[in-house]
């Protein structure tokens, strides 16, 4: 196997769908603030995680448990429990970001394989070496601000595996450092596991279309028939300099399928599909399509057609290769 396909699962049924669609690995989290997709009704109880790992292993797939929010000072019990429950379930690795959680895992769960979450935003050989030397981290998920060439250079300078996002929602900010959601709602993906928590999101319709509000702030308005995006501030439309536009980023999804061969050449170990908040329909379609693409590249193809196949699943109806092909630096 040349490239490992790491796929999202927000529920046990999504985990089964991902495995049956060809995922090499599935990542998921517990139903609390210890993971960065802490949405109502989503995620796994400890018992569901045990059953999920059993199912995945029976089908030759791995389970990586995301415990990737930053622990609250003086209140680490939830993160400690998550680590213990991941080990008890037989998880193949845990995906961590917080120094205290990494330290606790390395000290009290030495048999757990540690992956560094994108939330840690480790993008230099020095930072990655620190996590590897100090806690024994074996894999680092690459921040989505690096080009393929930068990742190749990084891989040449480090001794751990790297994992890169290949499809799905795209954060324009450096992960783990973004506080936009906190300014509007008091909650963030970093501390509570939610960007634009749904209890603060409201949609309303009038003759001009649909308005999206976040805690009372209108952050976008879609005309009838216009493609919509997620209700996040980074993808909202605002007026500046007398002009209304997407100030930070257009609503658009990452699709780096055309770069799969380049990723392999750059020394990347695993490709990650974003979307633990998405349904089984998305998981099945995206995983099946990317598994075929990875297998085709493995068999010697140089390019694969993925964009057209998944066009109906992407945010804003648009796709980008993001920073992987950036030309502005």
């Amino acid at each position: 196997m040349s490239l490992e396909l790491v796929c999202p699962a927000g529920t046990p049924s999504a985990l089964r769908a991902a495995v049956e669609a060809g995922a090499h690995s599935v990542y998921c989290g517990f139903r609390d603030e210890t993971n960065a997709r802490n949405f109502p009704g989503l995620n796994f109880s400890p018992d569901e995680m045990i059953e999920g790992v059993r199912f995945a292993h029976a089908h030759g797939a791995k389970v990586l448990v995301a415990i990737n929010t930053f622990a609250k000072a003086g209140a680490m019990d939830a993160w400690k429990a998550a680590l213990a429950n991941a080990e008890k379930a037989g998880a193949d690795a845990v995906i961590l970001a917080d120094l205290a959680v990494l330290d606790h895992a390395a000290t009290h769960h030495p048999n757990l394989r540690l992956h560094l979450s994108v939330q840690a935003a480790a993008a230099t050989p020095e930072a990655i070496a620190f996590y590897a030397d100090t806690f024994g981290v074996k894999r680092v998920v690459m921040p989505r601000v690096l080009s393929v060439e930068e990742i190749a250079k990084l891989n040449a300078a480090i001794d751990v595996e790297t994992e890169a996002f290949v499809f799905g929602g795209l954060c324009p900010m450096t992960e783990g450092r973004c506080s936009l959601s906190s300014y509007a709602t008091g909650k963030s993906p970093n501390l509570t596991g939610v960007c634009s928590p749904p209890e603060h999101v409201a949609y309303s319709e009038d003759k001009n279309g649909t308005a999206t509000r976040l805690n009372g702030f209108t952050i976008d308005r879609f005309g009838a028939g216009e493609q919509a995006g997620y209700p996040t501030l980074c993808k909202g439309r605002f007026m500046a300099g007398g002009k209304t536009s997407y100030l930070f980023e257009d609503p658009v999804s990452l699709n780096a399928a055309s770069l799969i061969a380049a990723f392999a050449k750059a020394g990347i170990t695993a490709l990650k599909i974003e979307g633990r908040q998405r349904g089984k329909g998305y998981v099945t379609e995206v995983v099946r399509t990317f598994r075929a693409a990875v297998d085709a590249i493995d068999a010697g193809s140089t390019e694969v057609e993925v964009g057209r196949l998944l066009a109906g699943l992407v945010e804003g109806g648009r796709q980008t290769s993001g920073a992987y092909k950036k030309a502005w630096r």
Partner: protein, 179 residues
């Protein structure tokens, strides 16, 4: 927006479906949901406090709507003719085939929202919780009629096959395809 979305039932089918609004759909669906709650209580645990919220489901191509409180074994479903001003915590509006696709997991809720195939208003947190609980429920048509064993498989095969045909016939979106 949803009024002109492709995938809505053709006019003839709408006319044929209209008498369904006079059937006792509410009590039948109430019974089906309660029976399902007995069989799979974990689905309603996933909903948590949101089980007490009210959800108004409006098929945009039919002249009746459903008001549901998915409170496990105390669940209630009411069927109402015409467009109602019934207050609800959440309102979801979409063509019938899209709503059924979301119910059985064939379609992805976010994708349908991006494509404007569904419109929502009210408590987004309750809607997200319901969507995730339904996603994990792995509902089949047999669950709604309480059929099990060979009969259940027959019901599933027939209804799923029929829905597939209906989607192709009406141009209703399928997962991964732009609308």
């Amino acid at each position: 927006m949803a009024e002109h979305f492709r995938g809505e039932l053709p006019r003839l089918l709408r006319i044929l479906a209209a008498p369904a609004g006079f059937l006792p759909l509410g009590p039948a669906l109430t019974l089906a949901v309660r029976r399902f709650a007995h069989r799979k209580p974990a689905v309603f645990d996933r909903l948590g406090e949101y089980g007490k919220c009210s959800f108004l489901i409006e098929p945009s191509d039919l002249d009746f709507s459903f008001l549901m409180v998915p409170d496990g074994v105390r669940a209630e479903v009411k069927c109402m003719r015409g467009r109602t001003s019934q207050p609800a915590d959440v309102t979801v509006r979409a063509p019938l085939l899209v709503l059924l696709g979301l119910l059985d997991g064939t379609l992805d809720g976010d994708a349908m929202f991006f494509n404007r195939a569904i419109s929502v208003s009210g408590r987004t947190d309750a809607l997200v919780a319901l969507r995730n609980a339904i996603e994990d429920a792995e509902l089949t048509p047999a669950d709604f009629v309480g059929a099990t064993g060979g009969l259940g498989k027959l019901v599933d095969r027939s209804v799923i096959g029929g829905l597939g045909l209906a989607r192709r016939f009406t141009g209703s979106p399928i997962s991964g395809e732009p609308s």
